[in-house]
């Protein structure tokens, strides 16, 4: 029996990974708690805020945002959507999902935009980052749900962390693209008038790349919403829960209204962020 017949496993990679994760959990617990802390605080803060506010105040806030960025017709749609969600009995779940989306998008933007800028300005960094982004985007979420639960335990925070991993690549990629698409002569003009590298970034590149960065933010939000059901599997709560429960109990009605809530919320957030990019 030789290695080249491929009849037996020669490389026990699965064992190594199991071992590695166990080792991480045991030895780096504090490090992961450190990562978890800001996410946890943000989740708690926003959840508290959304639940403390009267639903009509939230509807008003969204109506104003839509009015400012997306126009009149879309505003009617937004208000109608939120009223429908309330009437369907999905208000609480929707607020949880909204929290998860807001927090994960916040962290995606905080980490992803600088990463995108860095890879837009340096080819070598871009080359290094690209396979990592590919991995984040294509690895089936189920694969990293278990280590995430092991490292961060179950609950909304873990759901948010899993969502951050999955939803970050678009904003990195589109920020990168936006920076690269800035006309070189504009950068040259900036330099010719004595702009420092930071000034070139702030006064020339970011304003020019803005629509692209906003498109990235929009895509990140959409990706975050598509993780809602999967996050529900690790006890994250929100609109994924009725879908998940409906699937388990073959309750088509319950699963459908959960799905409807996700779609409607996605449409509202999409219209607002698309408007912001223009």
């Amino acid at each position: 029996m030789s290695w080249y017949t491929f009849e037996e496993k020669i490389i026990p990679m699965d064992d190594w990974i199991t071992f590695g994760v166990d080792w991480l959990v045991e030895n780096y617990r504090e490090f992961f708690q450190f990562i978890k802390f800001p996410v946890e605080q943000s989740v708690d803060g926003i959840t508290w805020l959304l639940l403390a506010l009267n639903p009509w105040v939230i509807i008003l806030i969204f109506a104003l945002l839509t009015w400012k960025f997306a126009g009149k017709m879309t505003t009617f749609f937004t208000v109608g959507t939120f009223i429908l969600i309330g009437l369907l009995g999905l208000w609480g779940d929707t607020m949880t999902t909204l929290t998860m989306v807001l927090v994960s998008v916040l962290f995606c933007a905080l980490v992803g935009i600088p990463l995108g800028i860095a890879s837009g300005r340096r080819d070598r960094f871009d080359t290094l980052l690209r396979p990592i982004l590919d991995t984040m985007q294509t690895t089936p979420a189920f694969v990293y749900l278990i280590p995430v639960v092991m490292l961060f335990s179950i609950g909304t925070v873990s759901g948010v962390i899993a969502t951050i991993i999955f939803a970050m690549p678009p904003i990195v990629r589109l920020t990168n693209l936006g920076i690269r698409q800035v006309h070189p002569e504009l950068v040259e003009a900036g330099e010719a008038f004595g702009a420092t590298p930071t000034q070139v970034l702030i006064k020339v590149q970011i304003p020019q790349a803005w629509p692209s960065i906003m498109a990235g933010l929009n895509q990140t939000i959409m990706m975050a919403l598509s993780m809602v059901v999967i996050a529900a599997l690790i006890g994250a709560g929100g609109l994924g829960t009725p879908v998940f429960q409906g699937l388990n109990n073959l309750d088509i009605g319950l699963a459908t209204i959960g799905g409807l809530g996700i779609v409607l919320l996605a449409m509202v957030l999409d219209r607002i962020t698309q408007g912001m990019g223009q």
Binding site: H183, L186, E188, A192, F193, G194, K203
Partner: protein, 401 residues
């Protein structure tokens, strides 16, 4: 009076992986093509040396790929210098650290680009204030100076528009205002008017010249257009294949081209649009009558003895008074009771021309007058005359070359 502000010495630019190696090959006497074949490296600019004087428009002219854009970008180091020096007010740009370089670009040297390179997200006034904003000038001061610059280019009414709302010519005037707003000693203009259509281009050239009249700045102007170079350039440097072949005033180059490449540029150029009256005026072959001389009789005697038909009357400080002919002198001597004054003998309709008038401008005058046309300098002093003969000979010389 002619104080140099920029001096460029033995400037080289090599594009490629190891410029030092390429420079060694240059020292060994290999040319640009041989080095490219051997190493794959391109010599952008080769051994360029020249100086630019304060207040002049210095045009660098050459075909595309001749290295002129690279050259101008080494003056403010938008492109790093491979070897050689660029002295601006005695300071070597090649040796400046980042801070000194930023200071140079913010305060001394501004630039106008072929593609305008305006910031599309900024309004016209914010674009004009761009350099000031980078230098962190007070906001009020920014607005004030940007507005002044916009007034200079006649765009104050468009201050709150955005670049995409303006025509190409107007956009480039914003580009010009942006460069003027920082009140630079030196402006680098990289094919600044080349993207504009011919009519607008001429208009912009006129605007630049009239701005120069009000406030003399040193301008290094890159162009591939000979007419433009001739029109606005005080001096012209001609580049070919990364080298500077000839530097001189437009008519120096026109009358004495350094080689066939330079000559090729001028083929088809109409000399009447380049040469001015001062270039072709002659002082010989004419008789000058200094007033007060010995009176009209003596003057007539001199004309007859020199075998001339016309005489040019000047006052003590060589200011031009008028032209007399043997006929008018004779007539005056016969009829006038007071023959000491020449005024009555002056030919009518002879208008002197200025040394700066182009041959085109004076053509009518030369052809329609009986006598050679007197040429005066800016102080109304006599310089010489232009005869039909001289005029035609100049034309012939320049077209058969």
């Amino acid at each position: 009076m002619t104080e140099e502000i920029i001096r460029v010495e033995n400037l080289y630019k090599v594009f490629g992986h190891s410029p030092k190696e390429a420079l060694k090959l240059v020292d060994q006497g290999l040319d640009k093509d041989a080095i490219f074949k051997k190493t794959g490296m391109t010599i952008g600019v080769q051994d360029a040396s020249f100086s630019v004087n304060t207040g002049e428009i210095f045009v660098v002219m050459g075909l595309s790929g001749s290295g002129k854009s690279t050259l101008v970008r080494m003056l403010n180091r938008l492109i790093e210098i491979t070897s050689g020096s660029v002295f601006v007010n005695g300071q070597n740009v090649a040796k400046m650290d980042q801070k000194e370089l930023t200071d140079l670009r913010r305060n001394k040297m501004s630039m106008v680009f072929q593609s305008f390179a305006l910031m599309p997200h900024l309004s016209v006034i914010d674009n004009a204030a761009f350099g000031l904003a980078l230098a962190k000038v007070d906001k009020d001061k920014q607005v004030e100076r940007a507005m002044e610059a916009l007034e200079q280019v006649g765009l104050e009414a468009w201050a709150n528009s955005f670049p995409h709302e303006l025509s190409g010519g107007m956009q480039q005037r914003v580009g010009l205002a942006r460069a003027l707003a920082v009140d630079p000693e030196i402006m680098l203009m990289d094919e600044a008017f080349s993207a504009l259509d011919p009519l607008i281009r001429t208009e912009m050239q006129d605007q630049l010249l009239s701005l120069q009249e009000k406030h003399q700045r040193t301008i290094v102007f890159i162009s591939h257009d000979l007419d433009e170079a001739m029109r606005i350039g005080d001096r012209i440097a001609i580049m070919e294949g990364g080298r500077i072949i000839q530097v001189g005033t437009p008519d120096e180059i026109l009358q004495n081209p350094a080689n066939d490449y330079v000559q090729a540029f001028f083929r088809g150029v109409d000399p009447t649009s380049i040469l001015v009256a001062g270039d072709i005026a002659r002082e010989t072959q004419t008789t000058v009558i200094n007033f007060p001389g010995k009176g009209p009789r003596a003057a007539l005697q001199r004309l007859i003895s020199h075998d001339r038909e016309f005489g040019y009357v000047l006052d003590k400080s060589r200011r031009f008074l008028g032209v007399v002919s043997t006929d008018t002198l004779k007539e005056m001597i016969n009829t006038d009771s007071n023959p000491d004054n020449f005024t009555n003998a002056f030919l009518e309709n002879v208008e002197p021309v200025n040394i700066e008038d182009s041959m085109q401008d004076i053509l009518d005058e030369v052809v329609s007058r009986p006598c050679p046309i007197p040429v005066l300098d800016n102080d109304q002093k006599y310089v010489g005359v232009i005869s039909k003969n001289i005029f035609l000979r100049t034309l012939q010389q320049n077209t058969t070359n």
